[in-house]
């Protein structure tokens, strides 16, 4: 039998799933923020072409 949306497994693991979901969402936001911070910093330079390859 497949799990229904109301299966008690969902209830039991609600806090784990919610917590993990929030952690992952936070991680995505952090990586996005880090990327913006890195590429907008004065030290950032686009890799130059060397020997026909980046």
């Amino acid at each position: 039998m497949s799990l229904s949306r109301q299966h008690q497994l969902h209830t039991r693991r609600y806090s784990r799933n919610l917590g993990l979901g929030l952690v992952l969402a936070g991680f995505v936001a952090l990586i996005f923020g880090l990327t913006v911070a890195k590429v907008t910093s004065e030290d950032f330079a686009v890799p130059t072409e060397v020997g026909g390859q980046y």
């Binding site: 008690q8 806090s15 784990r16 919610l18 917590g19 952090l30 880090l34 911070a37 890195k38 910093s41």
Partner: protein, 313 residues
């Protein structure tokens, strides 16, 4: 009620929640790690982008948490015995040992790689070494082998400000070594004060704490000696690049109180301590927590108030 429903109830009660996994990371220790790493980072002469700084502190905290989970994985047997640790997620049956090991290993690798990507290789290498030192050198090797476990193992807790400094500057310098030394020298009297009033815990668990191997009289003497060694180091740091007038005042006050407490511990015998429920030992332990926060708070205050002439001398 059928047997099946009874089993279901037991399973429900045993299900680990998000908070149980979070507890594996020793959140209270993490507060100290975050605070000292933050001070190390802000005291550095190079400033980081706020997002990079936030990420670095977060990954240092996660690395510290990973070593906490590995510590709980290895020490599950003695955590079951000691009153202080009995309610931790593994001895209380909420989380399995294997889960703690997996979480610890995964977060250790994750935090080191992410810190490297966010800042530099030196900070990441220091974080990796800290996790290794705490989980392997201290937890697996030293803790059950020598009464010097706290002295040498204290280095693990002393690394965070050095990592914070390295994250900002990419180097290790005198200032970051001083912050390391401050925590390193503070750790033994702090834990020995705890060992004095947690009486039978370490003995029952077979952990060779100084109280168990050398006796309580010797532990009282050690607390005084280490506090005497700590004071000149802590006060002397006032005259370096991380010090200044605020730090000097804080260091003088807090070291005087710590020395007075250590002297009182040394003067007491077991009968007196038993009679008042280890009042002095508990006070000194509590004060030692404020002591460290006050010193690092003063370093931070000196950095923030440097434009008003309250920075380094």
């Amino acid at each position: 009620m059928s047997d099946a429903s009874l089993n279901t109830i037991e399973t429900v009660n045993a299900e680990a929640q998000f908070g149980d996994y979070f507890a594996l990371l020793k959140p209270r220790v993490m507060v100290l790690v975050v605070f000292t790493a933050l001070v190390g980072m802000l005291a550095a002469p190079v400033s980081l982008h706020p997002v990079v700084g936030f990420a670095a502190i977060l990954f240092i905290a996660v690395g510290g948490g990973a070593s906490g989970a590995l510590n709980m994985w290895w020490e599950a047997d003695i955590d079951r015995i000691m009153k202080r640790t009995r309610k931790r997620p593994i001895p209380s049956g909420k989380v399995e040992r294997g889960e703690a090991l997996a979480l610890g290993m995964a977060l250790a690798g994750f935090s080191v790689i992410m810190l490297w990507l966010a800042t530099n290789w030196l900070a990441a290498a220091l974080l990796a070494f800290t996790i290794f030192f705490y989980a392997v050198i201290y937890t697996i090797w030293l803790k059950r082998w020598t009464p010097q476990n706290i002295v040498i193992g204290g280095a693990a807790g002393a690394f965070p400000p050095m990592i914070g400094w390295a994250a900002a500057t990419g180097t290790v310098s005198v200032e970051s070594v001083l912050m390391f030394a401050l925590i390193f020298m503070w750790t033994p009297p702090h834990f020995w004060a705890l060992a004095l009033f947690m009486k039978g815990d370490y003995h029952e668990a077979g952990v060779p704490m100084l109280t168990v191997t050398h006796g309580r009289r010797s532990t009282r003497r050690h607390i005084l000696v280490y506090t005497c060694l700590l004071a000149p180091l802590a006060i002397g740091a006032a005259f370096t690049a991380i010090g200044g007038p605020i730090y000097l005042v804080v260091a003088l006050i807090y070291n005087a109180i710590f020395l007075k407490g250590a002297y009182a511990i040394w003067r007491r015998d077991e009968a007196t301590a038993e009679a008042d429920g280890y009042k002095t030992e508990k006070q000194v332990f509590k004060h030692s927590l404020y002591y460290l926060f006050a010193h690092f708070g003063a370093i931070l205050a000196g950095v923030l108030l440097a434009p008003y002439g309250l920075g380094a001398f």
